[in-house]
Subunit: 257 residues, 2 copies
DNA sequence: CTTGAGCCTGACCCGAGGTCAAGGTGCACC
DNA sequence: GGTGCACCTTGACCTCGGGTCAGGCTCAAG
């Protein structure tokens, strides 16, 4: 009567492959069992127990290099470490659940990149009558701002929400979008810049940015005026410059460049 | 005004390392963004979106090689594949939860190797007055039987549970254990073998093994008589041989060797 | 003008196994 | 007593998803 089970049976019992069992032997996690007359490994319950222990810990995400010392530690320490391993496992489970939620957002474009609050803002922008292109550009600016200043993003959103409550300001922004297609030397630009600056000064909340935000956004532009492509939009560049100049001369500190 | 965010900001936004972003570029998962005048990569919202998509799928366990085709598929197929990915993720979560439960069993030896039902059986064995050593040997036999014949294990347990209800049988088994220390030619062995065979014949249920079990256990011994170390226990070997002979002459089919 | 952080490429390294090759064993069936 | 066929042996190399290191460039601040 040959005593003990073969490597295949041991592997099946522990729920791993034969190769994995040999891997564990090679790394000293499970001692090599005795061999039968033909050189086959023969596993007894002690080795099976060890194998199940190793596999369970490995499957829980414990690196192989840590498993040996862990299993060889005295029972007290072992129990303590088990609690730790369980905690790590729980964290991983929670993370996977979070990933699954993110995955669901993936189906609907924006929601993968922006929090619900920002998506709501985009919807509001659309409802205010801005064109699809305008909304898309604004969306891009939101994504980039969030990437640039993750910590200040919530404060930024709050400021924009406030701005949207200022109907005169919204109207001016709409006119700025129209101005995009004017010639850079159109005389109405001067007029629009004056109105814009006055509105900013009348509602100073539009200008306040958190110090955190301010500190890091120097190279970027503030509020709704911030948008890329200015290189290709000389009219907008001129409008922005005029508004900035007017605000500065009214004593508002605005970073240059 | 430099447009777009740097690789570090993009990586932080997506929650990966810089190295990982470059890895994705190298494998064509995220297109290389344009570079600024100094050769730095500059990411726009399109690349950020793609990056978040890739990271989300990768974190959900989708192999990198599958992610490209998946994201480039038309929206309908994409949605379908997302469901599939989500299913895989759910499976993994469930598996991790199961692992966590197994981990808890690791603290208490037996429970990592044997189902609760088998542990209960061991406790019952102990309560019936068998010594700790006897219980330990029986435990080992249970583990090995489970490793050898995983599918037949439940049926085997059921049979043993029945056997334990047969008080005369239990008494005989206890006497067998005592016999272990007798000389191989002790005359009481003959007597004991006769009693054992009679009991088997009186309660045929003790002999029935599921065909599934039977088919694969030929090289092993049946029921409680099955235990290793017979090589070192000539007395037990003789007892077993006598019982088998008596059963065979009574017409019971027992595999040889 | 230096300092420190961030970026560039490229080559090699790592964990946890998987794959392939070339051969020995055990057993059932003809 | 062959002959499959599944299973076992060792050893060398491969894979995936990155990490690490080296050597050099760029940028903003003090």
């Amino acid at each position: 009567m040959t005593i003990g089970v073969t490597i295949g049976q041991a592997a099946a019992f522990a729920g791993v492959t034969i190769k994995t069992v040999r891997h564990y032997h090679k790394h000293g996690l499970v001692e090599e069992p005795r061999r039968d007359s033909s050189g086959y490994r023969r596993y007894g319950s002690a080795e099976l127990l060890r194998l199940v222990q190793v596999r369970t810990l490995a499957a829980a995400g414990v690196p192989l290099a840590e498993i040996g010392p862990l299993l060889d530690a005295d029972p007290e320490r072992f129990a303590g470490m088990l609690v730790d391993v369980e905690q790590r496992l729980t964290d991983r489970i929670d993370e996977l659940i979070a990933r699954r939620d993110t995955l669901r957002r993936l189906a609907g474009g924006d929601r993968a990149l922006l929090p619900d609050r920002a998506c709501a803002l985009l919807n509001r922008t659309a409802a205010l009558g801005f064109t699809a292109e305008q909304v898309a550009i604004y969306r891009e600016s939101l994504v980039l701002v969030r990437a640039l200043v993750p910590d200040g993003f919530d404060a930024y959103l709050a400021q924009v929400e406030d701005a949207f409550d200022d109907t005169r300001f919204v109207e001016l922004v709409r006119r700025c979008w129209v101005a995009k297609d004017w010639e850079p030397d159109d005389s109405r630009i001067e007029e629009l810049a004056t109105a814009m600056a006055e509105q900013f000064l009348a509602n100073r909340a539009l200008l306040t940015v958190s110090s955190d935000f301010q500190a890091r956004i120097d190279t970027t532009r503030y509020g709704l005026l911030n948008h890329f492509g200015e290189d290709h939009e000389p009219t907008m560049a001129r409008l922005t410059a005029l508004v900035e100049a007017k605000l500065r001369s009214a004593g508002v500190r605005i970073p240059h460049q």
